[in-house]
Subunit: 357 residues, 2 copies
């Protein structure tokens, strides 16, 4: 493991994005979105993923100079076509459209087609906070998840992020896959050679397994809940709603047709839409009640929950967003640790493209 | 157990609502909403609950002739004040406001304060379907649920319902508590004298328990996921989002301040808002893409998922809403079964108020 500063990783990512043809403004926002994952501790969605985006670009599956545009709209809605661009760039564009719509109509809702992986969901929802708006960010993703009772992988980990502003307290920021556990947690167990808890995965026959390699071996991640008795049909429904809002509303690929992130797997030759899909929402708080009133009640909500009596063995009750914010403060001070294989991967990437790492 | 026709139960409920002072139009819609729960198999939210509403009215905690009104609005939003009315009546009013807003602005979003228990969430979201709109229905509820790591009960079972229209296929209708299991399922286990599965409840010390009486004895239902390792922080975040959208946006009571449904428990003497809160959304499908296109892709989505290869021992993959719709078809034909204690309760209620059951 080695430690890097934010600026080091930002510069490398920015320069790599320029190298593969991004305009300057896209390289800046793309690097900022990618790095926000490293800062918030969602390491699987940060610079570790950069070479994956580059491989997709090499295959002609990412357009680094896209004409991102609104193709349909109403006072409070829009559909954005990402023109095959980096999701890291398409998503902030679309979220800004939602924010602009909300500033006039009270709320704004944008469904996006023809995009690619957009980094961490929470970056985009949090864009609404500075405007005294609630932000919502959803995306579909390559199929790794089996619905309840299904042997087949039909859904991605399809995250939901909701960011809600407060006044004196930091904002409420939920950012979660609609599965029991994110794929990144399985990768950690694989590296350690440990088993996974029950309820996280099933094997390729559709039976419960605790092998951390279960998904790699043709099995699937399980929807939040794990099994029917513990409510997996609810996690399945949530992942489905994310898929439908992101892709059926916009005209992107949905369900098992979502193109894989990894370049070595080919997209379905008979797609049902274009690229992958996202969905964004922005709600002006003062379209409901005065913003000051709302934010002061949010402070009260947050303080009441954070001060709840904890269960034995636990120190305190957390508010969604607390762990990520604490990690961000720490990493801003101490730097971002990267695992050796990630450092090796980025070094080789830099050498190949003549960009100093 | 005895079997009743829809019309028998509808007439009794309607006549009881008239008896406690509802105007005719409110008695009609109130009875329809309540009965829809019995028809869809959510027996805990149907006529079994009628005497509970009546007891709240006897305590002066429900206003049966409310002046329900919009108190704040923007092109795509509104806040509705339910004037202490039956949620069964306030909710359809507010959902209609959302639908009207959507017909003009593309989407409509309504947060509601000063209301009471609104029956099943799915009735209200499904109101959008006939308008080629996606419907969303959320509500907070009396605190029975402990956040992850909390010994205290701070949230209700706070359901999420999303209804999405299709073309030839029946609609996609998710309707779920944000807990591992609904309270109604615990009651069934209590009656049978059986234990609850792990991950459903904790005892009053905040420790896991399988006693089906755990919640009655001062414990709590657990958020969807059950424990931290299985993602309960996600269920907690979802229940929190429902609470905030329903009550902090509207000015209703939130978290532990939500007034109890049972009349023998008094509301908090220092409320943070008025009554309980709901949140409704309606999105016009053609504010995103032509409705025909959307609905034909929904048919394709539904057929692909329903025809997925099932896991061993399971017959097929279900679409959210399938079980409730099948039960509704059956009960429309065969009638609605009520348990003996419910029949006794309704008989006594009718005798007390001079309404024939």
């Amino acid at each position: 493991m080695a430690i890097f500063t934010y600026d080091q990783l930002y510069k490398f990512t920015h320069d790599m994005l320029i190298k593969i043809g991004c305009p300057e403004v896209h390289a800046q926002i793309g690097a900022e979105v990618l790095l926000s994952a490293d800062m918030r501790g969602v390491d699987s969605h940060g610079v570790a993923r950069l070479s994956g985006y580059v491989r997709l670009w090499e295959k002609g599956r990412i357009n680094t100079n896209p004409n991102i545009r609104i193709v349909h709209e109403s006072p409070s809605t829009a559909v954005v076509d990402g023109d095959g661009g980096l999701g890291l760039v398409v998503a902030p564009y679309a979220m800004n459209v939602a924010i602009e719509k909300a500033s006039k109509a009270g709320t704004g809702w944008v469904s996006v087609r023809n995009s690619n992986h957009y980094g961490i969901a929470g970056y985009h929802s949090m864009m609404a906070l500075d405007h005294d708006m609630i932000g919502i960010s959803l995306t579909n993703a390559s199929p790794l998840v089996s619905p309840t009772f299904s042997k087949e992988r039909l859904l991605g980990t399809n995250p939901i992020s909701v960011a809600i502003p407060a006044d004196q307290e930091p904002p409420f920021v939920a950012d979660m896959a609609t599965t029991t556990a994110a794929n990144g947690k399985l990768e950690i167990l694989q590296r350690k050679g440990k088993d996974a808890p029950e309820g996280w995965i099933q094997d390729k026959e559709g039976l419960p397994t605790t092998s951390a390699n279960g998904v790699k071996d043709g099995g699937a991640l399980l929807p939040l809940g794990g099994d029917r008795e513990h409510g997996s049909h609810k996690g399945y429904a949530l992942g489905s709603i994310v898929d439908i809002f992101s892709a059926v509303l916009s005209g992107a690929n949905y369900g098992p047709w979502v193109p894989p992130f990894v370049a070595f797997l080919e997209p379905d030759p008979n797609p049902v839409g274009e690229g992958i899909g996202h969905f964004f929402g922005a709600m002006r708080v003062d379209a409901f009640r005065p913003a000051d009133e709302f934010k002061s009640h949010m402070d009260n909500w947050i303080r009441r929950f954070r001060s709840a009596k904890p269960t034995p063995g636990n120190e305190k009750v957390l508010i969604p967003g607390d762990p990520e914010r604490e990690l961000e403060e720490q990493r801003r001070k101490d730097g971002i640790p990267l695992l050796d294989p990630v450092v090796k991967d980025l070094t080789e990437l830099g050498e190949k493209f003549g960009v100093k790492f």
